[in-house]
């Protein structure tokens, strides 16, 4: 406790001479208020949760491919739900539920946005730290607590939440309906409530930091696209996460205090419940009011990272900077008015379905602009195939493939027959799951030297990791579209109850084999990551020859980032391969980039981007 108290005693402001404090192990590695350490904490917690989430998917992929086979691995991991190697149907539903929850919230929201917003916002805007280091620390520890609660829920007697990650009531409200809706669901809701508090504290901090702490000369139009993406992501989070909180609160009341927000006319386990007048459709509205913006909370930071990594490694400015910013803003705005496309056949008024079809297909326009701009960024570049660059290119590929099938799902008439089938599963895994993971991995490979004091990850292992992953990801999710279009619903423990689907068995086997290989190669990544933390080769201060401010900061982590004064900014973040007035050489001879803190040179034109 004394250590904890000390944290509060630490002065939070710095003068420009980089004054440092004595730090103890606890203040440096555990209750740290330094954004760089918090970012690493987010990343490692996120990776840990990711390992669990992905191993869960391995278990249910095995079940789907060989439903009649007995797997000892089920008995080892699932205990009483895997007796004799046969997976229990209820634990199958629990696995898909927790897999979804962990991947969406704990890995792709906290692990992605939490890691890179924390690392890059202060470093790239030229700030000593977040606006509030203390709130930032609280934000991480709330996330940690919510992860613990979520993991704890795996061990309750009746099993973890198993109503799907969308936890639609009444299934999620009534323990009579499914065992996982007992203590497991209570813990799920508690965990998510804590998670929302964490996310809000983090987001408010990001917003305030970007607005107030930009260094001299860093106007909004000179911000790197990463910062724009994190900034707008935080705004969407602040707008939509509280709505999920209210939905969770109302669900808790329906479950525990006998209210009827979402329940009405229910006869279950031989008796009529007293609930009257509520509507599950209301819950769906509240859930998706967060749920849809959530997919953009997941994908926008990845887009920002990809834009940055792609420009740097193409040695070219990002194409259409203003259009990229405008499309981020357009996507953010539209993302809050498209939630109904998850509910075309929920029983809501068909006219509302028409409205949501319209807004949904609108959102394809800024997405298309972004994809074309990325492709044009590559055009006539001098592409440096670092691992981060490969993942960025693959991001554009999966984003296009997954995004295109969105045109089908967003069209209410077409949605009727593919709704809730594997077609949807394939679509969202490619467009937000795999794509956002690629964004996360690109970010890790690119900023690893910044996170771990100049050490670099092995490029050879990186290449192996990349190529196997990118082939595997398509191998899993491309065939999955066929399963969906054959009419197979998702969340089926087994399709053996329908002989009609018997001929899908070999597709399921193919998908599972690709999944096993893809999951196995992630071990290479984990080894590369942890090995490089301690034994990675120390690289140059600015290994990728990037223009942004984080590479001017000290390699060794100091509280305050820059030992001397904070650099001022004189140009945008994308002066790659800019030529001098005579077009004889680069502006700085022999160097194909001009860092943001370099003043305008005599031999260059000032361009309006």
């Amino acid at each position: 406790m004394s250590a904890h108290a000390q944290v509060h005693g630490v002065e939070d402001h710095h003068d420009d001479h980089g004054h440092h404090h004595k730090e103890t192990f606890v203040t440096k590695y555990i209750f740290s208020q330094d954004h760089k350490m918090i970012s690493k904490q987010y990343l490692i917690t996120g990776l840990f949760m990711g390992v669990i989430g992905i191993l869960m998917s391995l278990l249910f992929r095995l079940q789907l491919a060989w439903p009649d086979h007995k797997f000892t691995i089920f008995e080892i991991f699932l205990g009483k739900w895997g007796t004799d190697g046969v997976m229990d149907p209820s634990i199958y539903l629990a696995l898909v539920t927790i897999h979804g929850t962990i991947m969406v919230f704990f890995v792709l929201t906290a692990g992605l946005s939490g890691t890179f917003s924390n690392l890059l916002i202060p470093l790239q805007i030229g700030a000593r730290d977040m606006a509030s280091g203390f709130l930032n620390m609280v934000s991480y520890w709330l996330f940690f607590l919510s992860s613990i609660v979520m993991l704890f829920s795996l061990f309750v007697e009746a099993g973890p939440a198993s109503a799907g990650w969308t936890i639609y009531p009444p299934l999620s409200a009534l323990p009579q309906a499914i065992p996982g809706s007992g203590a497991g669901m209570t813990l799920w809701l508690s965990s998510i409530a804590i998670f929302i508090a964490s996310s809000l504290l983090g987001s408010l901090n990001y917003i305030v930091t970007v607005i107030n702490l930009r260094t001299k000369g860093m106007s909004m139009t000179r911000l790197p696209l990463t910062i724009w993406a994190f900034f707008v992501t935080a705004i969407i989070g602040v707008v939509s996460f509280p709505v999920l909180f209210s939905a969770a609160l109302m669900l808790i009341m329906d479950r525990s205090f006998g209210t009827s927000f979402f329940l009405s006319d229910i006869y279950i386990a031989g008796e009529v419940l007293h609930h009257q007048g509520g509507s599950p459709v209301l819950f769906e509205h509240l859930f998706w009011f967060l749920g849809h913006p959530e997919v953009y909370i997941v994908i926008l930071p990845a887009m920002g990272i990809v834009s940055e990594v792609m420009a740097t490694n193409s040695r070219k400015p990002i194409f259409g900077y203003r259009a990229m910013v405008a499309s981020i803003l357009a996507i953010a705005f539209l993302s809050t008015i498209v939630w109904g496309h998850h509910m075309f056949i929920s029983g809501m008024n068909p006219f509302l379905g028409s409205v949501f079809t319209f807004t949904t297909l609108l959102i394809a326009i800024p997405s298309a602009v972004k994809a074309f701009n990325w492709i044009t960024t590559l055009w006539k570049g001098n592409l440096q195939m670092n691992t981060a660059m490969l993942f960025s290119i693959a991001f554009v590929s999966t984003f296009i493939t997954g995004g295109l099938t969105g045109i089908i799902l967003g069209d209410s008439a077409l949605d009727i027959n593919v709704h809730d089938t594997y077609f949807v599963v394939a679509h969202f895994h490619l467009v937000m799951g795999i794509s956002a993971l690629y964004g996360l991995l690109a970010g890790v490979y690119h900023w690893f030297p910044k996170m771990f004091q100049g050490r670099m990850m092995s490029k050879k292992l990186g290449y192996i990791h990349f190529w196997v992953t990118s082939i595997g990801a398509y191998g899993i999710f491309f065939p999955m579209h066929f399963v969906g279009m054959a009419g197979l619903p998702r969340r089926y423990y087994s399709n053996t109850a329908f002989p009609y689907f018997d001929d899908l068995a070999d597709i399921n086997v193919v998908m599972t084999i690709f999944a096993i290989v893809t999951i196995a190669v992630q071990v290479v990544f984990l080894y590369n990551f942890f090995h490089s933390i301690f034994y990675g080769k120390i690289g140059p201060k600015n290994p990728w020859n990037a223009t942004t401010l984080e590479w001017t900061a000290e390699v060794k982590h100091i509280h305050g980032n820059w030992d001397g004064p904070i650099p001022h900014v004189y140009r945008w973040a994308y002066d790659y391969s800019k030529l001098n007035k005579d077009e004889t050489d680069y502006v700085i001879p022999g160097q194909d980039f001009i860092p943001q803190h370099v003043p305008l040179q005599d031999n260059e034109d000032e361009l309006d981007h």
Binding site: L174, P179, I268, L361, A371, L378, I407, I416, G487, Y492
Partner: protein, 353 residues
């Protein structure tokens, strides 16, 4: 002396060669690149692999269609279904064209512009004209799709009462389906879960005269060519009535009545003759025969031979047996349907038993 001079010359020559080689060595720009940063060789290898990956994607797509093209649903068994299929086909063609083109551009650029020490990237920051073009093209294409889609959607969802549709209630509960016909008056009696009692499992109001002739069944029979208006109810949790062969789906929500209407156009007997279905059934039975051999060896019951039937599935997670919540649908001629219905007891008959 001469020997000394010769040795001296040789030594000096040796030194000068060594010095020259040093000069060449120093004059040469040392490869300053760090071993974990992509070298030109890496750029080259990965550039070629990008083209390889493009080929992999195209081959995967072609292979998938070749191997699994026949698992897809057959032609629609309902009137509106062909409109959906048509729109689906148009959307798919657009998607594939755009997909093939953009993936090609992406990977081809990644290949052709792979980095090299001697290359110089082009500083190309924006071009309003280009960006306008690729904003307006999606706008036009999507506008077309939206308009087509919305007309189709409105057409499907708006039920014209003048069509005199057959009224059928689909009743969902964990984990089975029931259907209730309106009887001679084609009107369903009022119902509520609070009235569930004994054989009255659907909670039909015994006081409602409309309910007397209602008929509750566990196998859905539909007359071909007549519009059917389904009224959906659920007694416990959310379910979704999914009839993939009719391109029909609607959630069943406790506390409210949802609806969906379609006109079946192909009888079960006709669908069993459909080429795709014939092939599919043959394939499935082949798989089942192979499996039965294994089962017989293990001393277990062999699998039944499969025959095609339309089906109603639950497509909203509803509990442990969600994966096995189904009802058989039979589409038949008006006469067969009427004959079948006549054999089913009405609700009042059931209640008075």
């Amino acid at each position: 002396m001469t020997a000394f001079l010769v040795v001296l010359v040789i030594i000096l020559f040796g030194i000068s060669v060594w010095q020259m080689s040093r000069i060449f060595q120093l004059a040469q720009v040392k490869p300053s690149i760090h071993s974990e940063i992509a070298s030109d060789k890496d750029n080259n290898t990965n550039g070629y692999l990008m083209m390889g990956f493009l080929a992999f994607m195209y081959i995967l797509a072609i292979l998938s269609f070749w191997l699994w093209g026949d698992v897809l649903l057959p032609e629609s068994g309902s009137e509106h279904g062909s409109k959906i299929d048509n729109l689906m086909l148009i959307s798919m063609i657009i998607i594939f064209l755009v997909g093939i083109l953009t993936q090609w551009l992406l990977h081809y650029f990644a290949f052709i512009y792979r980095g090299n020490k001697t290359k110089r990237a082009t500083f190309y920051a924006d071009n309003d004209k280009l960006e306008f073009i690729w904003t307006i093209i999606p706008v036009i294409v999507l506008a077309g799709l939206i308009i087509y889609g919305l007309f189709t959607w409105t057409d499907i969802m708006n039920v014209d009462k003048d069509d005199d549709p057959l009224i059928v209630e689909l009743y969902a509960q964990q984990f089975n389906w029931k259907a209730r016909y309106g009887g001679n008056d084609n009107t369903l009696g009022e119902a509520n879960v609070r009235l569930i009692e004994g054989v009255n499992q659907l909670g039909v109001d015994p006081a409602d005269p409309n309910g007397k002739d209602d008929i509750v069944v566990t196998e859905l029979h539909l007359p071909v060519g007549r519009k059917v208006l389904f009224k959906m109810r659920s007694q416990d949790v959310l379910h979704s009535a999914y009839m993939p062969h009719f391109r029909a789906q609607m959630n069943c929500v406790p506390g409210m009545i949802t609806q969906f209407a379609f006109t079946p156009t192909v009888t079960t007997a006709e669908m069993r003759q459909n080429d795709k279905i014939v092939d599919k059934v043959a394939r499935i039975n082949e798989i089942r025969r192979e499996k039965s051999v294994g089962l017989a060896a293990a001393g277990e019951e062999p699998l039944d031979t499969y025959e095609f039937d339309y089906m109603l599935l639950c497509n909203k997670i509803c509990g442990i047996s969600h994966y096995n919540m189904q009802m058989k649908i039979i589409v038949e001629s008006e006469e067969d349907y009427k004959a079948w219905l006549a054999t089913q007891p009405t609700l009042s008959e059931q209640l008075s038993k």
